[in-house]
Amino acid sequence: MLAYTIRRIFMLIPVLIGMSLVTFAIVHAIPGDPAKTIAGEKASPQELAEIRHNLGLDQPFYKQYFLYVNDLLHGNLGTSLITHVPISEEIQPYLAATAELSLAAMAIAIFFGVNLGILSAWRQNSWLDYSGMVVALLGVSIPVFWLGLMEQWLFAQKLGIFPSSGRIDPRLGFEGFSGFYVLDSLFSGDFTVLGDVMMHLILPAVALGTIPMAIIARMTRSSVLEVLRSDFVRTARAKGLSEFWVVYKHTLKNACIPVLTVAGLQMGLLLGGAVLTETIFSWPGVGRYIYDAIGQRDYPVIQSGILVLATIFVVINLLVDLIYAWIDPRIQYGKD
């Protein structure tokens, strides 16, 4: 298991090289001139040439790439052309905000998705099953932005239960240290802040978690249905176990591998794909950070932002692979 883990981590290297090459190439293929972004439309050709020279943009493509990779290896993600702040520093609070939102959304998605799927499978072809699957179908079909707007309209505007946007009430004057407001407020023992942070988190997390919830519910249902038919489930029942243990111990553990795969992929998608939700709820996340950078042609930010997200995506899927082996002793990664 340890050998496999190490081997898999080394296998990430070519993947990461490929990813950096692709993001680098794509960003360079985008029409537009970063020098003009910096100097403005009215800059003289000399000024532009100077800026290009300073940025190394007059060098050949491969040299630029190697410079970029060299920087990456030193933990340098580059500097924003607009704010002149190192990206590795600037991206952190955005990343934390997105991670907090995605984790909350995933928690909702997994909890409701898995239980909905189990109930549907356990009472297959009953009204419970049908209504569960209707919910799941609606979940995958409703556009995130529409759901977000409806939530805001109903729960924030009409009912006034939740705040409509942002991460925290600025009047509280709270400044976290890690960027994860839930954890920060929990550790500082400030429950007023914690409550406020949670209230801000719920609406966007529900909006963002709906699609993965629906996908997980459908996956869980089909997977549980298959496992419920297996012989060992009959054995478990023959032992006199209650349905709860039959389903949540014997069935769920066997059914969770495909569910886990889907959940891992969805988690990766949430990290980068939260732009719409982040925009609607004014959530200062990494999706919006990159989106704004695209509007401003802030090439280093686009490039490094995408690379960071892609890296996280790959790492999450590695974790999922490692969890497989932990769940299923038959998966012996050492001997593949």
């Binding site: 297996s230 012989d231 060992f232 009959r234 054995t235 478990a236 029942r237 023959a238 032992k239 006199g240 176990l241 209650s242 014997h250 553990k253 066997n254 769940i327 299923d328 002793p329 038959r330």
Partner: protein, 333 residues
Amino acid sequence: MAQPVLEIKHLKLHFFTDKGVVRAVDGLDLTVQKGEIVGLVGESGCGKSVTSLAIMGLVPKPPGKIVDGSIIFAGQDLTKLNNKQMRQLRGKEIAMIFQEPMTSLNPLFTIGNQLIEAIRTHEKISKKAARERALDILKKVGIAREGVLDEYPHQLSGGMRQRVMIAMAMVLRPRLLIADEPTTALDVTIQAQILDLMKSLNEEFGTSVLLITHDLGVVAEMCDRIIVMYEGQVAEEADQRRLFKNPAHPYTQGLLKSIPKLDEQKKRLYAIPGQVPSPFNLPAGCRFAPRCEFAMEICRKEEPEIVKVDEKHFSRCFLNQKEAIDHGAHERS
């Protein structure tokens, strides 16, 4: 005679499907005495496995439904118990082992986990005490290695897994063990070992066994009494010696003739002609009549009752009716 451990009276279990009603068990009578090994024999689809699931209360409902009859176990009618009461009997008083040892254990939990779970579901004892009992019973089924408790099913052979299944079934010393084709999926040498093991546990614990099989060889070796099922009904019932020596029902005779014999020179094996009728479309009269070489006019019109042909020997055939009358015996009480 003492009260039987299990007494099934006129059990009718039907499946209500979209295509029609399947009368999987249709008026079955069966008793198992204390310490007795009873064989339930028949072709695939004759209702023997459904019978075992009915005793366990594990028939999926719907589509399955017990429409008539009773299953009396230790004085209680199982058909009248609710889920919770049934759960308390399952695994503790009535245990079951299945045909497929390869898939009957959960692949993701250790043997120890699954054995201890079987114990602790019914008895409030510590994990440590349960572990010791688990080791004890494993020794009894011939697995002396302690490490086996921490192994996963895929690390064991089929025979070992079936031993574990037997250990799991016997650990709480149930009054009745239902074994549904316990050796069908095993090698012949392992089959003999497993049968020996079941027999010795039956003698040691006094557990009654209902052995479901299509293998007459197994039945001959193991059983005190044999019940032959055909299309959801008992075709013939007798003790082991009588059934093999003097089968009364043409179906049983056919089954016995189908066993290949080493000293026979015939090129072709005997097979009962025809096929098992579709459960949706049972023949009128005797259910075996279309395949029976002795079928008479009456067989295609009326359903025969089960009659006594000899001491402890019953058969459902019009051919036996006359003999029965000669014996002065009537319909079985």
